[in-house]
């Protein structure tokens, strides 16, 4: 697929045309320290959903919503701090700020999707930025997941304040991340690449009390 110039913007397909191994930001940690395997005592499980496509959308909510709807079949979340997903849950859009959303799709889809969105957006003022190499997504699941989060973030993760479908950018340990709750039992953390190792080690340390297991 070729890079395209639309509205004087230069897009860029980052994936090679040939088979080349890609590395998630957590490769270093896995190789250095390994990861505790899940066991019967595990009250929380950790999974990385590596190498997904991450796009930042900037622009007005109405035009973006229309474009996203026409391309993906579902729209922007209707509220701040909210998350919308397609039926299978494979693709999601999260509100980040009044003119900023995070679109996460299966890895490899992002470039084609960006092209389609640009086409649908026409002359509108907007920006789409591929940040797939810069972040990764972790999933936390299990009865102790919420307490683990309480150890780590000052944000209130009680269901009263953090219902399913919510997502926030917040402080986590001494770094930032995006925290969201796509389902009743599952939490997702979107980490920046350069902080990923630190955050991952923090989570494993905090999870020790709950016999945290890493599912590969």
């Amino acid at each position: 697929m070729s890079n395209l110039v639309a509205q004087n913007i230069r897009t860029f397909e980052t994936h090679p045309g040939v088979e080349i191994s890609a590395e998630s930001p957590l490769v270093f940690f896995h190789q250095r320290s390994g990861a505790p395997a899940p066991c019967t005592e595990s009250r929380v499980a950790l999974r990385e959903r590596a190498l997904l496509g991450h796009l930042i959308l900037r622009g007005g909510a109405i035009v973006l919503d229309e474009a996203v709807h026409s391309v993906l079949g579902f729209g922007l979340p209707a509220y701040p701090n909210a998350l919308s997903r397609d039926e299978g849950g494979e693709r999601s859009i999260q509100w980040l700020s009044p003119d900023e959303w995070l679109l996460i799709v299966p890895g490899g889809e992002e470039f084609g999707l960006e092209g389609k969105l640009r086409e649908a957006l026409g002359d509108a003022h907007y920006a789409i930025v591929n940040v797939s190499g810069g972040q990764t997504l972790l999933e936390l699941e299990g009865e102790a997941a919420r307490e683990l989060l309480m150890k780590s973030t000052p944000y209130d993760v009680h269901p009263d304040n953090f219902p399913v479908g919510k997502g926030v950018t917040t402080v986590f340990a001494k770094a930032n991340l995006i925290l969201r709750r796509p389902t009743e039992t599952r939490w997702e953390l979107v980490l920046r690449r350069s902080f990923a190792d630190y955050l991952y080690r923090w989570i494993l340390d905090a999870g020790e009390a709950y016999a945290i297991g890493v599912e590969v």
Partner: protein, 1012 residues
């Protein structure tokens, strides 16, 4: 061992479980449910410490957080040492080992006491200030000696085997204190469904009800406690935190709670199933509303020798007898100002010990408890007080006389009665510490004779904490205040059924603090106000005489209520004494400020998990693992770990920094080197006004930069001083990629957003950080083209791909943007690929790099190479006071741009136009072996009398391997016009270096090498 003071029955201890413990090297036994203090009293241990200043023997005075004397050093091993634990708050566990914090060689025979007895006379308040005032330079020496003698515990010298953590909690209502008032409040709130946290500092919840004589619903009060706790435990919306002290009340109802999770089990946390729990935990609570049910501390009376072991506060006597089954003596005298304290005498009598007399400061007391005491035949001496305790290591008697409290006079003949215990009560001080942390000044309540808290919005106090001491009234108050808090939350709840209490009618208490003596305060026996800090009534009187009228000054002069004590027992008495001396009332004198923490918090709990390798985030690039595996030494750049240099092993020895850097520098100048430049900040800029925006934030021009081209830009703050620099590439007509310095990335991003959002919202442009998305690999050196051409499809022909161009293509089969920009002065290509593919590209370069001796280099070499070219590093060669012109970079300033860019106006101020500003120049040391020190000051005339006028300083300095001598960048006043002049750098060791002012471009002055 014999627990001589242990009652055969009664109390909440488990006599079936005997626990051994060691105190000051001696073994004792106690029972499960004891505190260390109750176990010591059970064993008849009178002396638990030596006092801080006078080294007097001291015993246990209280039963809770307010205990001033029983501060112990806990821990049987070095690594488990904990200083300043109150024995009254430490649950007994089997094997507990503790020592007094003060006293040498031991508390029984203390050598320091001799010094104290002699020295005490010569240690008036302010002693340290007066004695050690001069010379100031000696203070550090004095301090060490004073510290050593002062005692108050020591920290462990070995690594703590335990771990600690934090838990962030949120609730609608935080109830602090689980006595009757807190329980009534929590129960009310629990039934409303709101999120409630109830914390209590003691081993068991229940507070005063655990040793109460009163019945609730005609049953022992503890049964009601158990029922309420059962119900609360069933509620999903309630979190119960026993053994948890609310230590600090911070802004916006942020309260820190310190939970001791395993400290009642052993000196280190026990090994669980595969996991060792954290020893203690800091709950960081953000509450909607806070209800303080913190109760009150009983005030002792201030009389002569009131610190001899055997003097207790009255309530503590009841607590030890009724809760712990310990009666700390045989013959009791009670000195009181109120009815409530009569309980102590009745409790004492109930367990079959002798009450010698109750000495009541009031004339004709007539409450129901007084009547009960009379009916049981206790001698009550009215209108009198204990003037003075007798005895040395233990109370042996009390001198009692009629007094006139108002006139502060002894009015009768003193009589001495034999006894071994004196309990005293001067009333009850609400525990207002937490309310005081919010900054609200408490006010004096004449009816309850105590300071009651002033409350900021969202804080409620109930029961004793606001002077409502009666049990029935307190229960109702707890429920009512909870209702008030729930209304504020808009979650009203129905009333709860309060238990039935048969309240006893109490007579009025009298205001009485310091007991008069026949002798003046300064001559009579010492009357202690603050036993922990050894502050006496005489010291306060002396302070007022010396002119200290503000209570805050008195406090500092005497040290009253300092440190871990925080004035729990003594402050009100101290204020009353100051008020008497100054002829004022207590509210006129006012109170001092209480500060966090309420009781000491172990450092571990404050630190939590933010320690060791989790102390601070370490940011890694996508190539970090390769650097580690190839032996890189790392440098911290912000939170990034960047390779500093890559030492090789030569002849079995690892290269030094200097050796490695010289080798790396020459490799780049003569062959080819490679740098991981991924940490540079990268910002994607899109929008029709992107170009216009760049023109406004950069000093130079952007109107004509064509797609495919790159330009270096300077960014100034609005004061005209350089803030950051970097290259920006035109990707498309409306699309740019900006780079920033590694450390400046986040700041620049915020800067752009700030100006866009606040000043120029009409500009259509968006900024997005892509720092982490791209990995940047710099290939540089004369051989760079040859190497890169082996693995890329991009045409690297020097006419097709010029300096300051960028091209797109494949590098090692990975889609890449390659920028021909140079920070070394050599031919250079910066390869940007999606970070997930970086390692592949990097290793492919090395697969092809062998024949060119491809050399990885780090930040140190990068610094030397750029300095040889006179290229600045923002933040090293600039410090927020340097303009682009000071740097000699007028060529990058577009004064004629149509829009006044940030900083332009400041650059026409007279100060920024001065000719003698410090300007960036190169320095060449006259002695080629010398490498100047960074930061060294520069003078024009080394023979000038000291102080010499300093005219600048060295900002960067290195040894240049390619040039064979030291080079430096410096700022020098008027330096641009002084090229060729000699300057001098006088050093600390007396040497004076000479250097010539030269151009800041040392190597390849025409800049030909980067264009090849």
């Amino acid at each position: 061992m014999n627990q001589i003071n242990r009652l055969r029955e009664g109390g909440r201890i488990d006599r079936a479980r005997t626990l051994s413990f060691t105190f000051n090297g001696k073994r004792y036994q106690g029972h499960a449910g004891d505190t260390l203090a109750s176990a010591l009293l059970a064993n008849g241990v009178n002396i638990v410490n030596r006092s801080f200043k006078y080294s007097r023997p001291r015993g246990i005075v209280a039963a809770g957080a307010e205990e001033p004397n029983a501060l112990i050093q806990l821990g049987g091993t070095e690594s488990a040492q904990v200083p300043n634990v109150r024995a009254t708050q430490q649950a007994l566990f089997d094997g507990l080992t503790a020592q007094s914090t003060n006293g040498w060689p031991n508390v029984q025979r203390d050598l320091m006491s001799l010094v104290g007895k002699l020295g005490g006379r010569f240690m008036p308040p302010g002693f340290y200030y007066k004695t050690f005032m001069a010379p100031a330079s000696m203070w550090m020496t004095y301090e060490k000696v004073i510290r050593k003698g002062a005692g108050l515990g020591r920290s462990p010298m070995e690594r703590d085997p335990d771990s600690y953590d934090h838990l962030n909690q949120h609730c609608d209502l935080l109830v602090i204190g689980a006595g009757p008032v807190g329980l009534a409040a929590a129960l009310t709130a629990a039934r409303s469904g709101t999120r409630v946290i109830l914390c209590d500092e003691q081993e068991e919840m229940g507070g005063s009800l655990l040793d109460s004589r009163e019945l609730l619903d005609n049953q022992p009060a503890v049964q009601w406690v158990e029922r309420v706790l059962d119900e609360l435990a069933q509620c999903d919306n309630v979190t119960l935190l026993p053994r948890t002290t609310a230590n600090g009340y911070h802004d916006h109802h942020f309260v820190t709670l310190h939970e001791r999770r395993t400290e009642h089990l052993g000196e280190t946390a026990p090994q669980g199933a595969g996991y060792r729990p954290t020893r203690s935990r800091m709950h960081r609570v953000r509450a909607g509303q806070v209800l303080l049910a913190t109760g009150a501390h009983e005030r002792p009376l201030v009389y002569g020798s009131n610190d001899v072991p055997g003097n207790l506060v009255a309530g503590a006597v009841s607590t030890y007898v009724r809760r712990y089954g310990v009666v700390p003596g045989n013959k009791l005298i009670l000195s009181t100002t109120n009815d409530y304290a009569y309980r102590a005498a009745l409790d004492w009598l109930d367990v079959g010990r002798e009450v010698v007399a109750i000495v009541d400061a009031r004339q004709a007391p007539d409450g129901e408890l007084v009547a009960q005491a009379r009916a049981r035949g206790i001698r009550i001496i009215e209108g009198a007080a204990v003037l003075e305790a007798k005895g040395g290591n233990r109370v042996s008697g009390a001198r009692i006389a009629a007094i006139d409290a108002e006139a502060f006079k002894v009015t009768g003949q003193a009589e001495t009665l034999a006894c071994d215990t004196i309990a005293s009560s001067g009333g009850y001080s609400p525990v207002i510490h937490l309310a005081s942390h919010t900054g609200a000044r408490p006010s004096w309540n004449e009816e309850s004779l105590g300071f009651v808290p002033s409350l900021v919005r969202g804080v409620h106090a109930a029961g004793s904490a606001r002077g409502v001491h009666d049990l029935a009234e307190g229960l109702a108050d707890g429920a009512a205040m909870a209702e008030q808090a729930l209304e504020a939350l808009d979650r009203p709840a129905g009333p709860i059924a309060l238990p039935q209490v048969d309240s006893l009618r109490e007579g009025a208490a009298c205001a009485f603090y310091q007991v008069p003596h026949e002798k003046p305060t300064l001559r009579g026996p010492k009357q202690f106000v603050d036993q922990q800090n050894d502050v006496t009534a005489a010291a306060i009187e002396l302070a007022t005489r010396e002119g200290f009228e503000s209570i805050e000054h008195v406090k500092r002069y005497t040290a009253m209520g300092f440190g871990t004590d925080q004035g729990k027992l003594g402050n009100i008495n101290g204020m009353a004494i100051a008020a008497r001396c100054l002829g004022k009332t207590i509210p006129e004198v006012g109170t001092t400020v209480f500060r966090p923490n309420y009781t000491p918090v172990t450092f571990g709990a404050i630190v939590g998990r933010h320690c060791r390798d989790l102390f601070d985030p370490e940011r890694y690039t996508a190539l970090h693992q390769w650097h580690v595996e190839h032996g890189a030494e790392f440098e911290d750049v912000g939170q990034w770990k960047r390779p500093w240099y890559f030492p090789k092993t030569v002849n079995g020895k690892s290269e030094t920094l200097d050796e490695a850097v010289a080798r790396e520098c020459l490799a780049v100048r003569q062959g080819v080197g490679v740098l991981d430049a991924s940490t540079l900040g990268k910002i994607d800029i899109q929008g029709p006004d992107a170009r216009e925006f760049l023109g406004r934030v950069y000093t130079n021009k952007w109107a004509k930069l064509a797609p495919g081209r790159v330009r270096y830009g300077l960014m100034c703050k609005d004061d005209g001083m350089l803030m950051d620099d970097g290259t920006t590439s035109c990707l498309g007509e409306n699309h740019f990629l900006m780079t920033t310095t590694t450390g400046g990335a986040a700041g620049v991003m915020e800067w752009l957003e700030l100006w866009h959002q606040t000043e120029w919202p009409e500009l259509q442009v968006y900024f997005t950080s892509v720092t982490d998305h791209w990995a940047t690999i710099t290939v540089t050196g004369p051989e760079a083209r040859k190497l890169l051409s082996e693995i890329t499809d991009i045409d690297l022909d020097k006419e097709q791909f010029k300096f300051m161009d960028w091209r797109e293509g494949q590098v090692a089969d990975v889609p890449a943007r390659v920028f021909r920009i140079s920070f070394t002065g050599e031919l250079a290509y910066e390869i940007n690929v999606q970070a997930n593919y970086a390692l592949h590209v990097w290793t492919t370069l090395f697969e092809h790099g062998d024949k060119y001796d491809l050399t990885p280099y780090g930040t140190e070499t990068m610094h030397v190479l750029r300095a040889e070219k006179g290229l600045i590093i923002a933040g090293q060669d600039t410090d927020g006071s340097v303009t682009p012109e000071d740097l000699g970079m007028q060529w990058a300033v577009g004064y004629d741009k149509p829009f006044p860019w940030i900083g332009k106006r400041a650059l026409s101020r007279s100060d920024t136009r001065r000719k003698d500003r410090k300007q960036l120049v190169g320095l060449k040391p006259k002695d080629s072996a010398v490498v100047l020190e960074e930061g060294a000051q520069i003078v024009f005339d080394p023979d000038h009398a000291i102080p010499m006028p300093m005219v600048g300083h060295v900002t960067s300095s290195y040894y240049s391997a390619i040039l064979g001598h030291g080079i430096a960048l410096a700022v020098v006043k008027g330096g641009h016009h002084r090229i060729g002049e000699t300057v001098y750098l006088p050093m600390v060791d007396g040497q004076v270096h000479q250097a010539e002012i030269v151009s800041n471009v040392f190597y390849d002055p025409k800049g030909e090498r980067q264009h090849v």
